[in-house]
Point group: C2
Chain length 208, copies 2
């Protein structure tokens, strides 16, 4: 079930909990890294592969919920599975609204924890895929000159070269030159492909 290379980060101030969690999670085939505090986790080198976070809600200093909020600001949203000894409904609802994958109350079955971790890792794997694609496309957009970016937008809007030319106050030939460069730099083989690339980085379409 477990994705071979996935890493599970465990943050809990209780050494015995860390130990038992590590045993259970590692037995399911995940790599495990433990941290005694939210701060320690944040000082870790940034993640590269698919991962998820198993987080105790109550901890001295920065709490699990605090860490969740902080991570939500980051570019890459690491899926969080909460575990807690004394959780209340309000807390669990707040965590779930903030995007937590699950919220488990001790004592919980290993099966439930591993199920939550699996869902979390799957979510992260999906996110990594779409993020990688989006970043790749945005990198291409960055190579466009300002003028090329304008032409890009208008082509994606479905306008003809002559319409774009009128819009920008240049002749059609000039538009063609920019357009060709856009197709080249964006590595799009067709207008259809270009439109999809634009959609993935959220280019605003003014009029269809």
């Amino acid at each position: 079930m477990a994705v071979a290379t996935a890493v599970v980060f465990v943050v809990d101030d209780d050494p015995s909990v860390r130990k038992s969690l590590t045993r259970v999670i590692a037995a399911a085939g995940y790599a495990v890294e433990t941290f005694v505090s939210a701060r320690e986790f944040q000082e870790r080198a940034p993640v590269t592969g698919p991962c998820c976070l198993v987080l105790d809600v109550r901890m001295p200093g920065v709490t699990g919920m605090d860490l969740q909020k902080t991570l939500a600001q980051a570019v890459h949203q690491i899926p969080v599975v909460f575990i807690t000894g004394h959780g209340d409904v309000a807390m669990s609802v707040a965590a779930m609204k903030a995007g937590a994958v699950d919220f488990l109350t001790k004592p919980f079955a290993s099966r439930d924890l591993l199920g939550a971790i699996q869902r979390a890792v799957e979510r992260d794997t999906r996110n990594l895929g779409t993020e990688a694609r989006t970043e790749e496309i945005q990198a291409r957009v960055k190579t466009l000159t300002p003028r090329e970016r304008q032409v890009f937008t208008l082509v994606v809007a479905g306008m003809l070269n002559k319409q774009i030319a009128a819009e920008l106050g240049v002749v059609e030939k000039t538009v063609k030159v920019h357009r060709a460069r856009v197709m080249d730099k964006m590595r799009a083989g067709s207008v259809a492909e270009l439109v999809r690339l634009a959609a993935d980085v959220g280019v605003i379409v003014t009029r269809a």
Copy 2:
């Protein structure tokens, strides 16, 4: 704050709760309809405008959670706000995982309830918008003949007429005829627009 035409459905078996909820919600400017059971709610005529559901978790017969699961099967997902007297963490987490907007434990502040309702109605309004658009596009797709649908897919994939012709084993002229009909029936003024329409109804792109 309240959207003028939004309807809030209240399902609770306790008459006094229904009464007090109605008073609070109506005072915020919403239209309110109450039901004594999940069954009664389901027998109601289908909703038309933006709405949301305020649901008691525990009720004799079909519970709030049961109703949520049933509604999740439907085409239009009505946002649910749960309220309960004796909720536990497991229950609230299950409800949130199933897509509930909020999960409030009695006693709760009117402000919290109205906040949840507002978020729920906003979500429903958005959903209605995208659903309406998707249905409209799908209706257009339905008017396409089988052959036109094939051409539609291949055009959206970015293929040239001659490539499409080879793929379908016909001459280019035939493809042009179908293609023109597709643009007409889908009411697309450009390939760019056609690609966006296809994306919204989830047309699978084979190779870019």
